[in-house]
């Protein structure tokens, strides 16, 4: 087991609301309880080791919003993934009339992975202030504008944490795409 909450360093703060550090098992429990989760991945997902894990999460049934140019990694992987610009997505997630990537409606839990830290933190800042969505960062950097986040992790610990999360997700509920 890897401890994902012991190191939650930040450079500057956005304000009074800061992400609660979480362990992989807790993250898996919350994702399992979600009605409409969405995995939002950035271009850093194209690192093969991270991509394998993102695909594993998608195979459990979590749809993927592939932002940046990350969609490249999901071609022919047999999972549901759609390209979308993350800034647009940030806006749409606050709109109840958005039909979602698949036309089945809004999401309730947003999981973020493999992003530029400063960029996704801004998108999460919008979600934090203007929506009631639960946002969970399973990235290797502590993202203070998420509702919950892993702390700052080394690459190796991050992979280990993702494996633990996936293991717990598999034993939990499966979503229908």
């Amino acid at each position: 087991m890897v401890d994902t909450i012991k190191n939650t360093r930040i450079y500057t703060t956005w304000g009074t609301k800061t992400a609660k550090p979480i362990q992989p098992k807790t993250a898996a429990n919350i994702i399992t309880k979600a009605k409409r989760p969405l995995l939002v991945v950035g271009s850093a997902v194209l690192d093969e080791e991270i991509l394998d894990r993102a695909v594993s999460i998608a195979k459990i049934g979590v749809p993927v919003a592939a932002t940046g140019h990350s969609i490249k990694g999901f071609v022919d992987k047999g999972v549901y993934a759609r390209y979308i610009n993350v800034h647009s997505l940030g806006g749409y997630l606050g709109d109840h009339s958005w039909p979602g990537l698949d036309g089945k409606g809004q999401y309730d839990t947003i999981i973020v992975l493999a992003h530029k830290k400063y960029y996704i933190n801004q998108v999460l800042s919008g979600l934090k202030n203007f929506t009631n969505l639960i946002t969970i960062s399973i990235d290797k950097n502590y993202l203070q504008n998420a509702t919950m986040s892993f702390g700052n992790l080394s690459h190796e610990s991050h992979l280990e944490a993702l494996d633990e999360l996936i293991e717990n997700l598999i034993t939990g509920k499966q979503w229908r795409i």
Partner: protein, 801 residues
């Protein structure tokens, strides 16, 4: 009684008497009245274009991404606005974010307008009120100014009144920042759009004034090439470095150096937009710029730390606040020449050159504030000349020697504090480790991606001067940093618009990609080259300005040629243009206005709304500020937005706090009127946004192609644009875009080479009805292809309205 006019008059009976009338109250209104076609909004105030803004904001909704959840504007606070709470004054988070955005915009606009006013004071003093405006072979000399204010300046003196208007608007906008007052986010947004538009007027005044007086290229496609890069600086000579945006003082330096035979003996170089304008000075009749360009703001600290400059001259805007502190450590005297930057230095403007020189060379003073350009012109080269032997003898540089370098890199404890504070979270620790093991490559890679801010050094618990380590490790690649930049050519001329306007509006030239802004790139400078190269190969017109124009010149193809050397610089498809420095960005919006005026014969005078509506619906242009960091970049982008030009910024641009993004799934928002009869027509969602961000250039490139699609495209134009959109998506994202079909109005919009394949997808994937014998679409598209339609968002422009 005949009307008085401004200008100089002689009185026949009185020899040697000349009367000059500089300004008459109400003269601007009189001049506007004299012109025949006056639009509805001369010199618009905050409220006058609000209806247009509301139309834009209804389709392109603000998406707020706060940088801070608190407001600390007044002593009621700090107020916690998180979760869109209201503060003590009643403002909520959305309105506060819109206010914050407005503040960025008017700060940027004030920087340009302040620059313009400073330049104008100096140029009028030197060349006189009556000095004619000369931008090259154009009747429409100041399209932005004319469209916004209704005024057609002819002389330098006329520009003063334009700036009076700009300054009044900026004051009124700044007043709205005060606590309380405005409570509606949408009205702060309208004010921000107003500020952006005003910025382009201020920029146009600045650049037109200097083009007219300082011999800068005038719509010249053959503007000369200038050397660029740290590697092209000859450090065996005394080196004089000029930093900033306002070239006024530097022109005196160039003149003095020429007159006193210093030009070949002293290496004159520049950083940021002053550098661009140094290479434009007196280049309107050809020649080779004597000054060289070091690069953008990202190179400031790096260049100073190298110890190469023997004297530094700064003016205004993108100049680091620690230039004096950094230079002082290396015995480089600093001359400040503008009241925006004084660094606490004594004002020596009334002292003799010899006295100032004595105090600076002896080290008695670290620098001097000198506002008299005649003194600066002589002082700066003489200072570099005298300092060079002293400094070279001592071998002063901040960079460590080989021994120190080893010691420093081995001090790193891999705590990652530097990476946490690095704006782009660069992998500094890994590079440090590799270097201590003798591998310099990781640091060489970081050198280009590092924006040279120095934040890492502030965080390092071991006190390692990290930037110096990066620069020391990268000496080999720095020596090879030698490129070429085409010096800024100014406006696009009227004849060029006559030739190319039709292709742009019909879409047969796929679009204009304007790459502007600063150097806060997410992944180094080469991205600019990759994007420009791809779009040029696809026949887009690529227009550059400011720091982007410089950084583009740093890369070469296999034959050793930069893009500036490979592509011609006319306003034609597949051409690469550099309009000039930061204030030359006004020529980009001016180009779109000229298309409306010259190609479509629209009246532009005081007619902003109609022209913006034309641009939004018919001119396929998109702006990219890939490394935007400054407030000026936000005002430039916002000015483009109000005129209907979408802008994409790099990922750091999300810190501007708000984007303007449409919702393609909300069909009601994507309609226009057909001006022929007022009928409502559905359109494809393009442009899909007015301001947004992209994470990587791979994501950016298909976005660029899609952003050039307009309702007015004819079938050939739409086919070309759709081809590029699909191809770029396949090349860089590895997939067909999900939404390509929504831009299809009929089978003739489909790319020829893929027509059958795409018809098949339309039938099987989207349920469209296809007549396969004739290869025709029978049903499916949500809009008709009607090349005669006149798309407009303004009902009053419709015949039946």
């Amino acid at each position: 009684m005949s009307k008085l006019t401004t200008g100089s008059f002689s009185i026949e009976e009185l020899e040697n008497v000349q009367i000059r009338i500089g300004s008459i109250v109400g003269v601007i209104e009189n001049k506007i009245e004299e012109q025949r076609e006056i639009g509805p909004t001369p010199k618009p105030g905050i409220v006058d274009l609000r209806d247009w803004d509301y139309k834009l904001l209804d389709r392109y909704e603000p998406v707020y991404t706060p940088m801070c959840d608190q407001c600390c504007y007044c002593t009621f606070g700090k107020c916690d606005l998180s979760g869109n709470k209201e503060g003590a004054c009643g403002i909520d988070m959305k309105a506060h974010q819109a206010r914050e955005f407005l503040l960025r915009v008017i700060t940027g606009a004030a920087a340009h307008a302040g620059h313009g006013r400073h330049l104008l004071h100096y140029l009028i003093k030197k060349y006189g009120h009556d000095h004619p405006i000369d931008v090259g072979p154009s009747n429409l000399k100041m399209p932005v100014t004319q469209t916004v204010t209704g005024y057609r300046p002819e002389t330098l003196g006329d520009l003063e009144q334009v700036l009076d208007y700009v300054e009044e608007q900026l004051t009124q906008l700044l007043a709205t920042i005060h606590m309380g007052q405005e409570g509606a986010a949408i009205d702060f947004e309208s004010k921000a759009l107003h500020g952006g538009m005003i910025d382009h007027v201020g920029m146009e005044v600045s650049d037109v004034a200097q083009i007219s007086c300082l011999g800068m290229p005038k719509s010249d496609a053959k503007a000369p090439l200038a050397e660029i890069g740290m590697g092209c600086i000859d450090s065996t000579k005394p080196v004089l470095l000029c930093i900033g945006h306002n070239v006024a003082a530097v022109t005196y330096i160039i003149d003095y150096m020429e007159e006193h035979d210093f030009s070949d003996k002293i290496e004159l170089c520049g950083l940021c937009c002053t550098a661009i304008d140094m290479t434009r000075y007196q280049m309107d009749s050809g020649g080779k710029p004597s000054a060289k360009i070091v690069g953008s703001l990202a190179k400031e600290l790096k260049m100073i730390r190298s110890g190469i400059p023997d004297a530094i001259v700064v003016d205004e805007q993108c100049v680091r606040a620690d230039v004096l502190r950094e230079a002082q450590k290396l015995s480089i005297p600093v001359i400040t020449t503008n009241d925006k930057i004084m660094y606490g230095l004594p004002n020596r403007s009334k002292d003799s050159v010899d006295d100032i020189l004595k105090d600076l060379v002896s080290g008695k003073e670290a620098g001097a504030l000198v506002l008299d350009f005649n003194i600066v012109g002589e002082l700066a080269p003489r200072l570099a000349w005298e300092m060079a032997p002293i400094r070279k003898k001592k071998g002063i540089t901040a960079l460590p020697d080989d021994e120190e370098f080893k010691e420093l890199t081995s001090k790193c404890i891999q705590c990652l504090a530097c990476e946490l504070v690095c704006p782009t979270n660069l992998p500094i620790s890994k590079a440090m480790k590799a270097t201590s093991e003798g591998d310099l490559v990781p640091f060489e890679r970081l050198h280009d991606k590092c924006i040279g801010c120095g934040r890492c050094e502030q965080a390092c618990p071991k006190g390692i001067p990290i930037l110096n380590v990066i620069e020391k490790a990268s000496q080999k690649v720095i020596r090879e940093e030698k490129g070429m930049m085409r010096s800024g050519r100014g406006q696009i001329s009227d004849p060029e618009i006559r030739e190319e306007g039709v292709n742009l509006v019909l879409g047969t030239t796929p679009g204009v990609v304007a790459m502007v802004g600063c150097s806060n790139y997410p992944d180094g400078t080469k991205d600019l080259y990759t994007v420009a190269n791809e779009m040029l190969k696809r026949n887009y017109i690529v227009v550059m300005s400011g720091c982007s124009a410089m950084d583009l010149g740093m890369y070469k193809n296999d034959e050793g040629k930069t893009l500036y050397e490979q592509y011609p610089a006319k306003f034609l498809k597949g051409n690469l243009i550099n309009v000039g420095s930061c204030v030359a960005n006004a020529h980009i919006t001016a180009t779109a206005i000229k298309v409306a005026a010259i190609f479509a014969k629209r009246n532009v005078t005081a007619n902003f709304e109609e022209i913006a509506d034309y641009v939004l619906n018919r001119v396929g242009a998109v702006g990219v500020a890939w490394g935007a960091y400054s407030q000026k970049a936000s005002s430039i982008g916002t000015g483009c937005n109000r005129l209907g030009i979408p802008v994409i910024v790099g990922p750091h641009g999300s810190k501007y706090r708000r984007a303007l993004i449409g919702k393609p799934y909300n069909k009601d928002k994507w309609t226009v009127h057909d001006a022929r009869n007022g009928e409502v027509m559905p359109i494809a969602p393009a442009p899909e946004f007015l301001l947004t961000t992209a994470e990587t250039i791979e994501e950016l490139m298909p976005m660029l192609a899609k952003s050039c699609i307009r309702p007015s495209d004819n079938n050939m134009g739409r086919m070309i644009k759709l081809t590029h959109y699909i191809e770029l998506s396949q090349k860089y994202l590895g997939v067909m875009p999900d939404d390509w079909h929504i831009f299809v109005r009929g089978e003739t919009d489909l790319p020829l080479s893929k027509r059958e394949e795409l018809l098949n997808i339309l039938e099987t994937g989207h349920g469209w009805e296809i007549d396969w014998k004739r290869k025709k679409i029978l049903s499916g598209p949500s809009m008709k292809l009607d090349v005669s339609a006149q798309p407009t968002n303004i009902q009053r422009l419709c015949k039946e309205a």
